[in-house]
Amino acid sequence: MFELFTSMVREEWRVHSTMFGSLSFALFPFLIFGIAFMGSFLIPLVAKTLPVGNLSIIVHANYLMLGLMVGGFGMLGNEVMNRRFGQASLLAYSARSLPLSERNIFANFVVKDTVYYFFLWVFPFAFGYILASPFIHVPLASALFLLLTLTLSFLFGLCGVFFLSTVYAWSKPIFWLFLLLLGIGFGGIMATGMNPALLFPPLLLHDEFSWTNLLLSCIVLACLFIVSLRLFNPESVGSEKKYKDSFTPLLQRLSALPNSPLAAKDMIDLYRSGSMIGQTIFSFIVPLVVIWFFLSLLGRFFPPHALLFLYAVTTGVIASTMYTWVTMFDNFGPYACLPVAVSTLITSKLATFTILQIIPAVFIAVVAGLSGEAAYLIPAVVLGIAVSFYAVSIMAWLCGLSPDVLVYDVKVLFVYLILVGIVITVFSAVSFLNPYYALGAVILAVPAWIFVQKAKVRWDAVDPAGF
């Protein structure tokens, strides 16, 4: 059991480190540490307008999101690995060759994810804050406590997505019923005038420590984990799925797009892999609903309309990650026997990405309507979509067809954060001043176009046999 766990940790490390060098990947936690350490010195300045308690809400929300993302990727891991490395397979999918049950392997997999990503993301961040705490007059005990609550936040995301995805795979009607009940529960809490995010156990614990709250958090996590494990039912090996030809009609419908065969293939991949619905729920709607609850707590610190625009910008950044939805099943390999250049593939992936942008556009419009800011619907949608296209162009330039892999490259992440960070800060501020200034975000089409052109030239010049 322990050997499997350590092998899985080694495997995860090697998957990441072989992609862009051990040193570059090993520096990743140091980058997180550096950001936390230096960022901590800004807390006294930010605290003048935004209380420390609200900053902790943002940090906890981020780690909840991180848990959701790690869990979501874990559920798709084998498919991704097989597309990227040909015949490679993860230990998590080796029940056929090892005398271990699928459940046993799955339990090890979840524990491995917890430990691995704790040391990759959670510990470096908390450690940076802990080291900075004496300089910013934060009690050491309080800084150490953050390590516990951030870990819990991360675990809630991780176990939450495992739970939701196993329920989804087990029974779709029960999954939708569960979401409905969850929605009714949230609605009920909101009807009392309370924000459901305030009931998030790690936040409750962070605001006021009590053994009861800690125990409650652990019980909820254990329940999510145990139920996931009980419901986990891997697809039977050797099953043959047959489908009628969907490619031909789709090709005709998408004929206006550049490289329509490639776009049609991407759409079929997304639909048949279950990613279209799964990713939309777990990587888009769930994180954004969570963010909405957390952001709405900050409402009194911003101008009335600002929350909508802050949310539109956030939605734009998250929507840009839809590029990973269409690139994660492919490397260049399957196209190597066809007359297709890497730049052509990037163009086609961006065309499919463009189709998917209907989802964030509708989402922002619905949020604008529900939040009583329908008057600002158009500028909010324009801002969100413009940010999404700008961020995806940076992603394509920095990562080509491997954004989900290269995001762990320190240099890539740093440049991405700087380039996207500056733009979202400027356009958030501009839209706070006047909502209609957000329409100016259309100008982002210019740098987006330039970055896409640079991406094509850059990745055509790189040996496509990589990865």
């Binding site: 498919e79 097989n82 597309r83 040909g86 015949q87 099953s239 043959e240 799925k241 047959k242 489908y243 009628k244 030809d245 969907s246 490619f247 031909t248 090709l251 329509s260 065969p261 490639l262 049609a264 293939k265 079929i268 991949d269 048949r272 892999s273 099943f329 492919d330 260049f332 390999g333 399957p334 190597a336 026997c337 066809l338 007359p339 297709v340 250049a341 052509t344 040996d463 496509p464 046999a465």
Partner: protein, 241 residues
Amino acid sequence: MTRVIEACDLSKAYGDVQAVDHVTLAVKEGALFGLLGPNGSGKTTMIRMLTGQTRPTGGEASVLGIDVVKDPVGVRKRVGIIPEQETPPSFLTAIEYLKFVAAVRKIPDIGKKADWWFDFLDFADKKDVLCKDLSRGTRQKLMFTQAFIHEPALALIDEPLINFDPIMQDLVKDYLADYVKKGRTIFISTHILEVAEEICSEFAILHKGKLLHAGPIAELKERGEHLPAFFLSLVRKDHHV
């Protein structure tokens, strides 16, 4: 006779590893050319360079008169390729994959051609099955079909018979022999020497990235030598050097 492949001083290094080391090679039109070598000798890298899948770190090469570095897509447009390990996209069915290939290659009316291949390679019952659910042998049939469906002037195949059962191997060997009789060219890489001796007209031996020998099979036969023995003596000699 026209040379369909010309490589001059072609090299490829992956960091400190010299996968292909200054190889000069020519393949004539109408040949069934076998690139032979032990595992790790550079055969796959050679095919990848010739089809523009990977860039040489030295030398130059042209395929059907097209420079593989300057116009790799142009090369892939004209040739058929079966890579050693790549599998067709997971979530398309077999027939959808062939239609996808036809759309990318701009081949009209694929239907009858596809049906012929499904019958010929005996996998018509799998045409609506997702590629990810196909057995390795059936995937190889599908990859074989996609490489030949546009009847290219040159096909480059990495280990053509791998994953095929003996009956299918026999069928494919006959197909390849007939294909070159029509004036087209086939370039295969393999380490199954008996197959190479049986079907190839010319061969080259690669070891540790270096070209040890190139010439027609007929020369060997004239000398009363067999390819496996000749190969082993050359490679063993080189190994001791």
